[in-house]
């Protein structure tokens, strides 16, 4: 039973590893900002421009991040089930 907090900690860390979308971003996205200079800041809505790396590496735009999101969801569900069952056994 003492292993429960440890298990939670390890799995929670596991489901968050490499969790920065910027670290995992493909080169095209990160290179985008270098192709434009400061004179191109004015842009139409829906078009990328300079200094926009933060914007285009947000989870909603980071398609390379979505698989991890799905995996994290399943890990969290498994954790929830494990914690519920173990706490029930401890309570009985």
């Amino acid at each position: 039973m003492r292993a429960l907090p440890l298990l939670v900690l390890v799995l929670l860390c596991g489901c968050s590893l490499n969790s920065d979308p910027v670290d995992n971003a493909p080169h095209e996205v990160l290179g985008e900002e270098c192709d434009l200079d400061h004179e191109h800041r004015q842009h139409e809505a829906g078009h990328a421009c300079s200094e926009t790396r933060w914007f285009f590496t947000q989870p909603w735009a980071a398609r390379w991040y979505w698989d991890k999101l799905l995996r994290d969801g399943f890990v969290l569900l498994a954790l929830a089930a494990a914690v519920t069952l173990l706490s029930r056994r401890r309570g009985s």
Binding site: S16, L17, S19, R63, G73, L76, V83, T84
Partner: protein
């Protein structure tokens, strides 16, 4: 399961009779109205401003609603000694927790839906185009609200309400930060900060106001994934809350 539903409806009625959710809802609607009064250089800029700050205000409303609805529920039940007879005969502890959570979640979801509807009405009155993704964005904010609600329940089983408020607010703020921003809080010890960030949820997944305000289309798959992630984290926080609750001596 019938017991859970009956108890959640009882919780729903009890919370609707309180002034707290009504006060918070009126506060959020007034804030939205005030945001719409801020002058801007053009209609386009004003639309962005209203959407950006409006959705941010509703997100903050979700946090305040979670705290206002749930921080006092268990401590009050314990103080008034109603929790003992409840979990002794008609309900088990998980049924108590789930009933309370579902009741509060329904009240919170209703208030957030009304807030988002209020934002749409303000945009329409101002003659600003309403983004097509406003409905899925609302569902995402509701999902974030439920995650916060589960967090408040978790803290409420071992802290007092005055401590619950800052703890949940700190978790809300820190979990909104990206890994880089979080490491930036203490740049001298990046490994420690990265390690700490691993333990926090990724609430930046719920950031949806930026693409909406700037006219970007968000893929429906992302909405589905983000809502799924929010619901899974809610289930996880509830399981932790249940583990703490099961270990508590209620005498």
């Amino acid at each position: 399961m019938k017991g859970v539903l009956v108890f959640s409806v009882m919780t729903l009625r009890m919370l609707f009779r309180k002034r707290t959710p009504w006060g918070i809802l009126i506060g959020v609607l007034l804030a939205l109205f005030a945001i719409a009064q801020v002058p801007s250089f053009s209609v386009g800029n004003q639309g962005r401003f209203i959407l950006d700050f409006g959705l941010f205000g509703i997100e903050l409303g979700a946090l305040v609603l979670a705290l206002g609805l749930a921080a006092n529920l268990f401590p009050q039940d314990r103080e008034q000694r109603t929790v003992m007879p409840l979990v002794a005969v008609p309900l088990s502890r998980w049924q108590y927790l789930l009933g309370r959570f579902l009741g509060a979640a329904m009240v919170q979801a209703s208030a957030l839906l009304v807030s988002c509807a209020g934002l749409v009405v303000i945009l329409l009155i101002r003659g600003i185009r309403v983004p097509g993704d406003i409905l899925p964005a609302t569902v995402l904010i509701v999902s974030e609200g439920w995650f916060l609600l589960a967090t408040v329940f978790f803290f409420s089983f071992f802290t007092s309400p005055p401590l619950n408020w800052p703890l949940t607010t700190i978790l809300f703020v820190l979990s909104q930060m990206s890994v880089r921003d979080f490491v930036g809080l203490a740049p001298s010890s990046p490994d420690l900060m990265r390690g700490l960030r691993l333990l926090l949820p990724h609430a930046d997944v719920f950031h949806i106001k930026d693409p909406l305000a700037h006219g970007f289309d968000v893929a429906p798959q992302f909405f589905a994934l983000a809502v799924f992630y929010g619901l899974c984290y809610t289930a996880f926080m509830l399981s932790l809350a249940l583990a703490v609750f099961r270990g508590r001596d209620l005498k």
